[in-house]
Symmetry: C2
Subunit: 455 residues, 2 copies
């Protein structure tokens, strides 16, 4: 099969999906009703089993494989030969809190105003159902599986996928594939589908500075060093006022954008005004606007200070020289930066600036990944998006956000793209999370067309 | 009278003080039993009245003069002519908390092991009694008042004397004097009396930085500026790793130390090992040691960071770009720096570094003051210290701490020295505050000898 084959069967696939929609909605309910909150360790085993059950009901061979943390639901099936598609998803969800801001029960699917409400409908149990429903529809229309299917559905995405990289390293041979659909996606405010080809990496770090053994009177501050100053100066030294990171070697491994990637960034709509209004700001870092702003979001690394605490924080003044100070950082990384390398570079930077006494504690790290625009799979996903949505998709070279894309790029060496059933109002991670029925249907159809076109 | 007169009457003065000791202890009890905690606004009126009562019982004309805050107890009396001595004291005390760490009731005088325990015994109701007892003894021995006495006993010293400078400006004519005894003092660990001739000034300041209108996801940190970074960089820019303040013009008004002052600092005993052990530190700012360390403590200004807060402070990581950040600073000042000038210099510094968006909120300010070593009063206090204690006193060019010395130097233009009845273990501001009976007796005697020698 080819794009042409897929084009010829759009209506049949849509009909098959419409017919099966009640069944797939019912199956979505089964998943949403399990409160699989990874941060709280709840409902994990039950959700993994229910997810595996849906796949084995399709005749796929399923396994729930252990990791150092929550297990990964794995499944293999479809054609005995031919191309293989890998579906990366996750069965865990964000905590439902704050509960009193929900207008519906968080762990039920509530259908209202053409929308399906419930924790995980958008992020990302709805996407699991898009992939499963697509397989059903392809089988119905073509009478067979045109390609091989592999599922990797993890249970720790919402806590930073701490065990996925090791899992992929240890199980790489079982997840070889020609292409991968990623776990999120959807349409923008104009109904145009987005096709995201990359995710930034991250390295979170805690810094700790110590001063006198206990809080001292600040009259001694002329003689005894101040851990808040040391930490402030250290943090202040990490970037310039434009946001450019000033750590030696930080940009060395940044992959240059191709002319095609620059074009894709140029073709995206401006987000300037929307972001300005939403966050009440006058200007962006470095005075970035339009293309420059989008280039930052898609393809530039940065350092963030997530928190900084020490000493007195109450009203008025207190003449204290505090004993300790703490800051939390996250570095957002782009291909081909490596999280562990950033830890080394930061340590060297601190030492060079005279802050060798500042303790550096590496927290979570995820490597970045980005699929080449020239990969034929990108063309398949873009062409089928046009068939499903009736409009040209927006190509996002990368999300501004983070995900465990590194090992897919570096170990599995599989091209990936993120497409799905959400929209900007889906309220992922927030109360009243939902998807629109219309987007759910198109998301299923798009997945089915990708399968058909890959054959 | 002269030093020689004083020298001839030491034994008589000591006897008179011994005879009157029960009465003066009883009067100290009356003061300590009033919980005059200025920070909590408690017992203020009662303490002012009781203090004034002790003075009017000596035939002094007393007034309780209002200020913008707690009133000042004022008294005038003694000889109709001749030199005038001003006693600066305060009737307010620190809060007694934490209460469960006291081994005696905080607001009673408990006599135990040769010590007098109770809040204010050391800081500084014991010193009020030293001055009053000295007047009694001088009258007893000489049969008359050899000089004029003026008392200025404020009720806000423990909250930074926010109204004293204005009070002195408005009432300067009533407090003209030839010399002033300051409110604290005592002996060091070797029993050697300290004679402190100056106090540093202070300017406390709060800095506030703002970022996005509300906490944003830190994936946007590549495009939207981070208030924690801005504040850290701003604070980091204020000094270098040696503690030298990098604000343009900061040192312009620093008065040069005279050769005599340098000698006095040179003659002080080392505090290095004591400070190192007490605060568990390896080195002092700028690698200072011995003379250099003492010079910092006595005569160098600095900037302190008292607190720094913003964003996430819990366990692990949170990918947040915080909306706001706050830092509290205090600048310790030396003659002839002016607190209000420091505020202007800091504002210019922030603007020049691109931090004109950081809000600067001036908090409490006090001007520094320092009495010249060459002032004859210093000789009088030092010589009489030798008579009272039997050893040469240590001359401290200045305390490392802060007090409202500025207007005494600049408005009243009166030389001042701090001598008294405390010792390094007195636990001022802490639970189990106390003085030793022996130091109390010598503190009274020394004050009496100063009065005798001034005539």
């Amino acid at each position: 099969m080819t794009i042409e084959t897929a084009r010829g069967r759009v209506d049949e696939l849509r009909s098959a999906l419409e017919k099966a929609a009640p069944k797939h909605l019912d199956e979505l309910r089964r998943l949403v009703e399990i409160p699989s909150v990874s941060a709280q360790g709840e409902g994990i085993e039950e959700a993994a089993k229910a997810t595996a059950q849906l796949l084995s009901e399709r005749g796929l061979r399923t396994e729930i494989r252990p990791t150092g943390g929550h297990p990964v639901v794995c499944a293999w099936g479809g054609a005995r030969e031919g191309p293989t598609i890998l579906f990366y998803e996750h069965y865990d969800v964000q905590p439902p809190e704050p509960l009193d801001e929900w207008n519906v029960p968080p762990f039920e699917v509530t259908e209202k105003d053409g929308k399906l409400f419930g924790r995980g409908t958008s992020d990302t149990k709805g996407h699991i159902m898009c992939r499963i429903a697509a397989i059903d529809a392809v089988r119905e229309v073509f009478g067979a599986d045109p390609i091989r299917y592999v599922f990797m559905i993890e249970g720790e995405e919402e806590i930073g996928s701490p065990n996925l990289e090791a899992f992929i390293h240890d199980n790489a041979e079982d997840f070889r594939a020609d292409a991968c659909l990623w776990e999120f996606g959807g349409v923008d405010n104009d109904g145009k589908p987005s096709l995201t080809l990359g995710l930034k990496g991250i390295q979170s770090i805690e810094l700790r500075a110590r001063g006198p053994a206990y809080d001292a009177h600040s009259s001694l501050g002329v003689a005894i060093d101040n851990p808040l100053w040391r930490l402030a100066a250290a943090v202040g030294s990490l970037r310039d006022t434009d946001g450019r990171v000033t750590i030696d070697g930080f940009y060395d491994d940044v992959r240059e954008l191709t002319p095609g990637e620059l074009d894709a960034i140029g073709a995206e709509p401006d987000r300037d005004e929307q972001l300005r209004r939403e966050y009440g700001i006058d200007r962006f870092l470095g005075g970035a606007e339009g293309f420059g702003l989008r280039k930052r979001l898609r393809a530039e690394p940065c350092v963030n200070v997530n928190g900084f605490h020490g000493g007195y924080g109450g009203p008025g003044s207190k003449t204290v020289l505090p004993s300790r100070a703490m800051a939390k950082l996250d570095f957002r990384l782009v291909p081909d930066q490596k999280p562990e390398r950033i830890v080394e570079l930061l340590r060297s930077h601190l030492n060079r600036y005279g802050f060798d006494d500042i303790e550096l504690i590496p927290l979570a790290g995820e490597a970045p990944g980005r699929t080449s625009l020239d990969d034929p799979f990108v063309g398949v996903v873009a062409e089928t998006a046009k068939l499903a949505y009736g409009v040209e998709p927006t190509i996002e070279v990368s999300s501004a956000g983070t995900g465990p894309a590194g090992p897919f790029q570096d170990v599995l060496k599989v091209p990936f793209a993120s497409v799905g059933c959400a929209y900007p109002g889906s309220r992922a991670h927030a109360p009243d999370e939902h998807i629109r029925l219309e987007d759910f249907a198109t998301g299923k159809l798009h997945t089915a067309l990708v399968i058909a076109a890959l054959a």
